[in-house]
Amino acid sequence: MTNPGDGEPRTTSMPPVSRGSVYRSSPDPDPSNGGSANDPNELLKRVARGDEGAFAALYDQLSPRLYGLVLRVVRDPAMAEEVAQEAMVEAWRSAARFDPAKGSAVSWMLTIAHRRAVDRVRSEQAASTRLRKVATSEVPYDDVVEQATTRIERQQVRRCIDGLTALQREAVLLAYYRGYTYREVSELLDTPLPTVKTRMRDGLIRLRDCLGVTA
């Protein structure tokens, strides 16, 4: 499928986040290039030895994704800042426990941040309130389209999201960007629990294959 997303009609449907979507112009380091000084895995190993400079470099590479992810889940910029900071400090504290054999540094840090964001929104509001809210809020996928830029990685992710079935896409994105449990997703989409569980799994597997992710 070739869908570079040029002339995407949906991109004008909502104003951009007021903070602006300025992305760093420098490309992400290639995760396959191993020993480079800017490779996040190498940086995190140095962080584990107490290297604050390496942590600053990691911050510079990762903060737009980490903050952006947290912001999307908690939605409130002040709270997003707080949660992002807690996640960063936790990553610093526990850097020695990062094991590259288990996954990439980027994934490790984003997992910490996502968990914190999700824990925060889940404890903030009774589930019933959250469910009511989403009914009147926009579909997260529109945000995805909205934020998409010309960067190749983003286009690839977007193209792969486009390759999911509607139910897979909604189940995955409601969970990831809104912090819903699969039970809540099941209720929201009026779909049986086992189906939601399965769609989350096979949706992610399809995304994995499309993105060519390996552990």
């Binding site: 800042e81 309130t129 994995r208 992710v213």
Partner: protein
């Protein structure tokens, strides 16, 4: 939960779309299933790529405050977070370890000042305290959820929602996890009770839940059942049975 049930949870787990007890159960499963661990690793990597589309430049002030906090925060050594080594489970997955830290961190953070903090209150001290307290609590909660004799008793609230109570008699401790309970009402709070044979008048409670708190550690003692009530702000000494949300036996 059957093996195939739990296996199908890998997607929801990778998306953080499970509750604390399901997470603990799944992580126990992960320790015994290498193929599952590999799959979860790949799904986690996949999920992280979704963050590519969410990237937003953070406020410039965040960089300085993070780096300042980092400069003042000691690092934890490799290995298990701050508690004595326990026998067994030596091969417990790292995922599980840091996931547990994150759970408790979320719980602590939620209780530390929901509704009261302002932008001016956000500071490095808080982040440090949260991180340190989280580690202590995480260890306790993780220990209960990982106990070999842990049993889970689900309780349904009368107005919806569930409370799952994970009981580890070998540790004399239980962890209650609230899920989707409605708001207790203005100036009201939820309070969890451990109730002995002699009845609710002798019930014990660690105190009312804070706003937003969804997990609580409880000592089991001579309790035969677990109950939840709605009490006035500040909590009560004995449970108000007229405001009983639910009760479940924990002795079978």
């Amino acid at each position: 939960m059957t093996t195939s049930d739990i296996h199908s949870l890998s997607g929801a787990y990778a998306l953080d779309a499970v509750d604390d007890l399901e997470r603990a159960a799944f992580e126990r499963h992960l320790r015994e299933c290498d193929a599952c661990a590999l799959e979860v690793g790949e799904l986690r990597e996949t999920v992280s790529r979704l963050a590519d589309t969410a990237a937003v430049e953070p406020p410039p002030s965040l960089r300085a405050s993070v780096l300042d906090a980092v400069a003042r925060t000691p690092q934890a050594p490799p290995g298990r977070p701050g508690r004595a080594q326990t026998t067994g489970h030596a091969a417990a997955a790292r995922w599980r370890r840091f996931a547990a830290v994150s759970v408790a961190a979320g719980v602590i953070a939620a209780g530390a000042g929901i509704g009261t903090w302002t932008v001016a209150d956000r500071n490095v001290d808080r982040a440090e305290k949260v991180a340190a307290a989280a580690q202590r609590r995480a260890a306790e909660i993780e220990q209960v959820l990982a106990a070999p004799d842990v049993k889970v008793y689900p309780m349904t609230g009368k107005d919806g929602g569930t409370v799952n109570v994970a009981v580890a008699r070998s540790l004399n401790q239980a962890v209650a996890v609230l899920n989707g309970l409605p708001s207790p009402g203005k100036d009201r709070v939820y309070q969890l009770w451990m109730i002995p044979e002699s009845g609710p008048s002798d019930a014990r409670s660690p105190g009312a839940l804070r706003v937003g708190q969804t997990t609580q550690l409880l000592e089991i003692g001579n309790a035969v059942s677990f109950g939840v009530t709605i009490e006035r702000q500040g909590g009560a000494q004995t449970p108000d049975l007229n405001a009983l949300v639910g009760r479940v036996g924990i002795n079978q």
